[in-house]
């Protein structure tokens, strides 16, 4: 088991390296330093300003190979900084990226955390309900609703939710953010509600499929032949087995929430990581964007290693096998 986890962790580390190399190729080789500088400073910037900017942001070094000092290259610098979480300054306004991230994490989590903790039980219980009533009208109506819900663009959910709940019904403020605990909930409620609505269709459908697949297995027939009732079969046999594929999906969603919040945050004016990303896109800030992609990937990979750890706890075939 320990060997398995070590292997998985090593694989995760290799993937992180792969991501870093990919980002290097994209941001340092495909996009030349001159490009980046001109985008940051404008087309008409004087050559001296560009040269100075390149030095300031470490874009002046050789890309991959420096005969004088093999470690003094952009590649080495890129790897060193990313691995040590020393992200440097924004290409756009020279604010330290790390500071931005620290400021943004709180607001981001105030949306994604409730979204995650409410969304998962909601989707799981709806899916369990629909799967329990399989081949009845409840199931059929449920599936149709899921497909309908999935076919609506998240943009429409955001615009519709804001217009309906914020503007027409005036239940929540239309947008904005205030970290003070007394009013935080009021600002966060609308984005969380919209996020729940946008995600629930696809999730219920997926979990239902998982539950139905498990319901068709031989061991379920054995349990019924023992005399176990429907509810017991679902709770004691189907659910524990279905948790294994569900786990994978849940972990896959962790970075998905991170990116999903890009839209919610930018639209509802929440100054989190998502808004930082949108600002970076709008101001051609490659340095920040690079860091965001890297952190997203890092979260995802960490999530996968965590899934493996969770597997070893849930699935005896992995734990003991």
């Amino acid at each position: 088991m320990l060997g398995y986890l070590l292997r998985r962790t090593a694989w995760g580390a290799a993937t992180v390296l792969g991501v870093l190399l990919f980002l290097f190729a994209l941001f340092f080789l495909y996009a030349t330093p001159q490009d980046v500088a001109r985008r940051a400073l404008g087309e008409k910037a004087p050559p001296e300003a560009i040269a100075q900017w390149l030095v300031n942001h470490g874009y002046d070094k050789p890309a991959v190979w420096n005969p004088a000092d093999p470690l003094d290259t952009r590649l080495a610098e890129h790897l060193r900084r990313m691995l040590l979480f020393d992200f440097g300054r924004s290409d756009a306004d020279d604010v330290p990226i790390a500071q931005r991230l620290r400021d943004g994490v709180g607001p981001s989590l105030s949306v994604t955390l409730p979204l995650f903790t409410l969304g998962l039980p909601l989707a799981l219980s709806l899916a369990l309900l629909v799967a329990f009533f399989r081949e009845t009208y409840i199931d059929r109506v449920g599936v149709v609703l899921c497909v309908l819900a999935m076919s609506v663009s998240v943009l429409v959910y955001i615009l519709g939710g804001q217009y309906l709940l914020g503007k027409l019904l005036r239940w929540f403020p239309i947008s904005g953010f205030d970290p003070a605990p007394s009013v935080l909930l009021r600002f966060v409620a609308l984005p969380v509600l919209v996020g729940l609505l946008a995600g629930v269709g696809a999730n219920v459908r997926f979990y239902r499929a998982v539950f139905l697949e498990e319901s068709g297995r031989d061991y379920v027939r054995t349990a019924r032949a023992k005399g176990a009732g429907d509810a017991r079969v679902m709770a004691r046999h189907v659910l524990p087995n279905a948790l294994i594929p569900v786990l994978t999906n849940v972990v896959v969603e962790i970075p998905f929430l991170f990116t999903g919040s890009i839209l919610l945050e930018s639209f509802f004016g929440i100054p989190g990581l998502g808004s930082i990303t949108v600002d970076a896109i709008q101001s051609n800030d490659f340095a920040t964007l690079r860091v965001m992609v890297y952190l997203g990937a890092l979260l995802f990979i960490a999530g996968q290693v965590l899934t493996d750890v969770a597997y070893t706890l849930v699935d005896p075939r992995v734990r003991l096998g």
Binding site: R134, E135, R217, D218, Y219, R221, T222, A223, R224, A225, K226, G227, A228, G229, D230, R236, H237, P240, N241, I244, V314, D315, P316, R317, L320, G321
Partner: protein, 327 residues
């Protein structure tokens, strides 16, 4: 014979076919199992044996359903029984073991927990008592080192041990009837013999009746008192083991016997029955075996043969045999 333990009459189980039609897979089957008796239901794959068994315990997978017939257990009609009452029948009165021990056990529960569940589903017993009884069952079904195997997960057990756990689960609530659906098909030959011996011995000890479902006449020979041969949803021949195996009447039973290496005479060529069992939507209007039968008559094509009683309690569904017999 007094009222049998299990009495099935006119059982008709169907699945939906093309354009809303219902395709029967079990077609007006009559069966009776007496107390302590072992009845073997024999036939090739796809002839409706397993579906007969699942119909009896009320576990026909959707969208299949039982359309007609009666299933009586100790005189009580099981069809139309409320869900909770049927649940009490399953396991406690009729237990079932399946073909694939590898997939029939819950992979994330220990073997012991699965046996304990089978006990506690039907009896209010303390946890320690249930555990003690499960360990005794492990002993009874010949699992070595019960305390260790009790905590083992299915993937840690061999195929033979898994099937023994399945048998322990089946026997946990002391059923009067055990339905064994191809219990040895997925096992190695040497293990097969052990499991059959175990089943025969347990049936003798506990007085449990067995409905054994198999395509393997060798298994029948080892375990069964009586034999019913099933073909394309119908029982085509039934009788005592000795009568059916030694002097089969139906050409299909003949064919099955002649294709068995273990029962063939030394030096005899193994015969095979040409063709395959027709699917329910391709059943001919006459005798369903007609297309594969070596002695088919003109009448076989036109009309389905009636059930003909023979001497010694046997019965057969064949025009050729009915024509010869005095009846």
């Amino acid at each position: 014979m007094s009222e049998a333990l299990l009495h099935v009459e006119g059982l008709l189980t169907s699945f939906p076919g093309a354009r809303g039609a219902r395709l029967p897979v079990v077609d007006r089957v009559d069966l009776a199992v007496a107390r302590g008796e072992a009845l073997a239901l024999v036939g090739e794959s796809g002839c409706g044996k397993s579906m007969t068994a699942l119909s009896i315990v009320g576990l026909v997978p959707k969208p299949g359903r039982i359309d007609a017939g009666s299933i009586r257990m100790r005189g009580r009609e099981l069809r139309g029984l409320p869900v909770t009452a049927m649940r009490r029948v399953r396991g406690a009165e009729i237990a079932m073991i399946f073909q694939e021990p590898a997939t029939s056990l819950n992979p994330v529960q220990t073997a012991g927990a699965q046996v304990v569940e089978a006990i506690t589903l039907h009896e209010r017993v303390a946890r320690g008592e249930a555990r003690r009884r499960a360990l005794a069952l492990f002993e009874q079904v010949g699992i070595p080192d019960p305390p260790v195997r009790f905590g083992a997960y299915p993937h840690q057990l061999s195929g033979g041990l898994k099937q023994r756990v399945m048998i322990a689960i089946a026997l946990a609530a002391r059923p009067q009837l055990l339905i064994a659906d191809e219990p040895t098909t997925a096992l190695d030959v040497t293990i097969q013999a052990q499991i059959l011996e175990l089943l025969a011995g347990l049936a003798r000890e506990t007085g449990t009746a067995i409905l054994l479902i198999t395509h393997d006449l060798g298994v029948v020979n080892q375990l069964a008192d009586r034999v019913a041969v099933m073909y394309a949803g119908r029982i085509v021949e039934e009788g005592t083991r000795a009568a059916v195996l030694a002097a089969p009447h139906h050409p299909y039973t003949h064919g099955l016997l002649r294709s068995m290496p273990s029962l063939a005479q030394p030096g005899e060529r193994l015969a095979e029955i040409p063709g395959v069992v027709p699917a329910p939507d391709a059943w001919p209007p006459g005798c369903r075996f007609e297309g594969r039968c070596a002695i088919a008559l003109a009448v076989c094509r036109a009309r389905e043969p009636e059930r003909t009683r023979l001497d010694g309690g046997a019965a057969v569904r064949c025009h050729a045999v009915a024509g010869e017999s005095p009846q």
